[in-house]
């Protein structure tokens, strides 16, 4: 699959765990990148957009909700699919971020099957 993925989470450990879980789900990406917050993610996206962005909500510098809005303003990221990965489970938070332009939501704790279910439709 010639697709690219970026994981945006302020915890380096969580980024590794997400990457591991994506691999366990059987999905593979030609290019994978990581960012520790929204600002870093935007810098990397301005150099080269990705197909799928996995984004935590609570992060320093720029949180996930703000990042979604900014990415949706970037013409180069028009086709980027944004999936939130967070411990947040309140319907209000999920609806807000989806209204801002996110395409999916995965709640922590997660399983490889959940990543398979949520990301596969974007890879076909």
């Amino acid at each position: 699959m010639a697709k690219s993925l970026m994981i945006v989470d302020d915890s380096a450990t969580m980024r590794k765990i997400i990457m591991r879980t994506v691999r366990m789900s059987g999905l593979s990406f030609k290019r994978t990148e990581e960012a520790g917050n929204g600002v870093e993610a935007l810098e990397k996206l301005s150099v080269g957009p990705v197909d799928i962005l996995l984004v935590d909500i609570n992060m320093p510098e720029m949180d996930g909700a703000e990042l979604v809005k900014k990415v949706r303003e970037m013409p180069a990221c028009k086709k980027t699919k944004i999936v939130m990965v967070s411990t947040e489970s309140s319907q209000e938070v999920i609806e807000d971020v989806m209204a801002d332009g996110a395409d999916g939501f995965i709640t922590k704790p997660f399983t490889p099957e959940k990543f398979q279910e949520k990301l596969s439709p974007f890879l076909n």
Binding site: S11, M14, T87, S90, T107, P109
Partner: protein, 169 residues
Amino acid sequence: MVEQAVLGDALLQGTKEVFETMVFMSLEESSQFDPSIDGRALLGSIAFKGNLEGSLGICCSVPCAQAIAVNMLGIDATEKINEEETCDAMCEVTNMVMGCLKSKLEDAVGVLEVSIPSVVHGRELKNNLGKGASKILVKVNIADEYVGELSLLYRNSPEQPSDKHGVDK
């Protein structure tokens, strides 16, 4: 009204869910009378506020926390894991358990706001909630090898009417 037993059960079930799906280690409530954590311990904690306010803590020995980190990261057990990775893993576990608890209690107590999790070397979760605070302590066996402690210190928020979203003590 949320009874203490319901809170305790939600805490245990939420922790089991996290350990089963993300840590890949079994976790059961301890049947031993008074198991204790051997040696140096790490305590992950996170605060919450809303109709219910307080802190959640997860405590285990340093070797247990290292085993948790090794399992979560999927690295070889023979590889050396550093303190930062161990503490980060404990933070993530604490954060996810709080997320599960929050989700399980949302219907009963409404939306809870949570803080950023932190980890310290130590054992006992304490705070200054003062009068009217309650504590739940659940001792658990992790992977049939380690002892862990789940604790919840809480009280009704003074800003909220206790007859609406109260907690039985």
